[in-house]
């Protein structure tokens, strides 16, 4: 493909620059332990951002993913705690919790998608609404506090986040699989093609016999499912959920998608770009922790500057042909 020019390489250049910067600041940066940490923690936002890539590519948006994750984590914990006395501290209980998170994600995604496609409301408004709803519900379920997984279950479940094959932990593996499947779907599946077509021009897609509403609905359902999957890996990490879980994940996920080169108005989806975007965002945080800055109050400013710079790199074209 001759489309792999500077424009597409932009995010990768930014990523490499960050890696070099990190390695220069602190030699421990490239140690396997740090790499494992960074990759594993990117996994949550990463999987969500892969789903978000499809939603955005089809011309949609989802602001609810962070609250949805908190809500699903809460519900899964409640479910596991509820059956634990009956089933015992047992993988069955955990599988049930996972099932609840995934099915819940499916249902939540479906709700968003149905409101967008059937009730024809702007995705921004729909998901702003459900964002408030999910956030409220988890706060209410937790009675303003924290929902925690029973400690027996926590111990059993823990390896799902911390274990893996050598230093490649399960979240890394899952994220990689999701990213590869996502990239494959965007490029090589009919679904991906239709998602791009809808984002590019919805009327054309409809005239070509594509079931536009179904495809759009599916993007939200897919995203919901991936949020559920992220929750499955998140719960063993912290073992709890509260009203402050997943705050601002939606902004991070959307930012990753856009940094990766997917246009916010839809039409072109780049899943691998999203992965790079997620890594860039995680690395910024990591690097800020590696070095001692003037003031921690300025972290946000440095983060902001780097995000903008990362994107400047990929906007090198366009000045050419049309102004």
């Amino acid at each position: 493909m001759n489309r792999l020019n500077l424009h597409t390489l932009g995010p990768i250049v930014a990523l490499i620059a960050l890696i070099i910067l990190g390695a220069m600041l602190n030699p421990a940066f490239l140690a396997p332990a740090n790499i494992t940490n960074v990759l594993a923690r990117s996994a949550f936002i990463g999987m969500i951002a892969v789903g978000m890539t499809f939603v955005i590519t089809s011309g949609g948006l989802d602001l609810s993913v962070g609250s949805m994750a908190a809500f699903l984590a809460g519900v899964a914990i409640i479910a596991m705690n509820a059956v634990a006395p009956a089933l015992g501290v047992h993988w069955g209980t955990i599988l049930l919790g996972m099932g609840v998170a995934l099915l819940g994600g499916l249902a939540a995604g479906w709700l968003n998608g149905a409101l967008v496609t059937k009730a024809r409301i702007e995705p921004f408004i729909v998901t702003l609404g459900t964002m408030g709803i999910f956030r409220s519900l988890v706060t209410w379920l937790a009675d303003g506090g924290t929902l925690s997984l029973g400690s027996g279950l926590r111990t059993l479940y823990r390896p799902v986040y911390f274990g893996g094959i050598g230093w490649i932990t399960w979240p890394i593996i899952t994220f990689a699989v999701v990213a590869i499947i996502g990239e494959w779907m965007m490029r090589h599946s009919r679904f991906g093609r239709h998602v791009e077509a809808i984002g590019s021009n919805e009327r054309v897609a409809r005239y070509s016999g594509i079931d536009v509403n179904r495809v759009k609905l599916m993007t939200y359902v897919l995203l919901g499912l991936l949020v559920g999957l992220a929750v499955v890996l998140y719960v063993p990490r912290l073992g709890s959920a509260s009203g402050s879980t997943g705050v601002l994940w939606e902004l991070e996920a959307i930012a990753a998608v856009i940094i990766g080169g997917t246009a916010l108005k839809g039409g072109t989806g780049r899943v691998w770009g999203t992965v790079v975007g997620v890594l860039i965002l995680s690395l910024i945080d990591n690097i800020l922790n590696l070095a001692d800055l003037v003031s921690p109050y300025l972290n946000g400013a440095i983060q902001g500057v780097i995000i903008v710079l990362a994107v400047v790199l990929q906007r090198e074209k366009s000045t050419a042909d049309e102004r």
Partner: protein, 294 residues
Amino acid sequence: QDAEKKVIGVSIPSATHGFMGGLNWHAQDTIARLGKAYPNLEFVLATAGDAAKQVNDIEDMMATRNIDGLVVLPFESEPLTAPVKAVKEAGKFVTVVDRGLSEEGIEDLYVAGDNTAFGRVAGEYFKTHLPAGSKIVVLRGIPTTLDNERVEAFQKALGSDVEILDMQHGNWNRDDAFTVMQDYLSKYPKIDAVWAADDDMAIGVMEAIAAANRTDEMWVIGGAGMKEIVKRIMDGDKQLPVNVTYPPALISSAIEMTALRFVSNAPVTGRFIIGSQLITPENAAQFYYPDSPF
């Protein structure tokens, strides 16, 4: 002397409201002070906007900064328990500040305020200073376990003679508290007192009361000892009879004691609970820190 370099990590929530701002200030101030006093101590400070970010920060300190000790104010107890435990298991010295972990016996040192006392002391003041049948309104913080503890203790200490008309979340935020208080004032023709539970919220609340010209009708009690409020108590402001301490400076004590462990080999362990005290016009001067941002 080239004593071996020791690194102490400090992980606290970021300055998203007044109390945390004060805590951030004290943490930085202490670090700067101790860094000068003990050249062989190095401090790593990280601030986090949510529990997951705080876990990341602690992971990074372990993986890349090779810390010997950790001072942590958990954003939330539950999610931080396992990561802090992992730090302890790696043989590091652990100091937990303010919010206890959900499992006992992990930390070497525990320095905290007393949330129950914070609510109780306020509740007792309301109980003793209001006639039976009085009506009050309450502004709550951001929904968290900590807020729940305070409010429960408050309600328990208050008893049933005084009626709580309403409890809404002001999120420890001046603007939110202002809005909620305005609406309370529209809704309730008679309010005898307000428990704002936090000095930031108290500021918003008083502004709303002043704008409604009902200043004479009710008094307000905040909490945590913000310098402007303490000043007004010192000056004998009728509307702010007292305040309940929850000093953000407790982070300083925690960092200092942890540092002591590394420079003196003194066996520093145990639990230090800094109780909540009532600030009254008489004792206010000793709670007044004009340099702190809080």
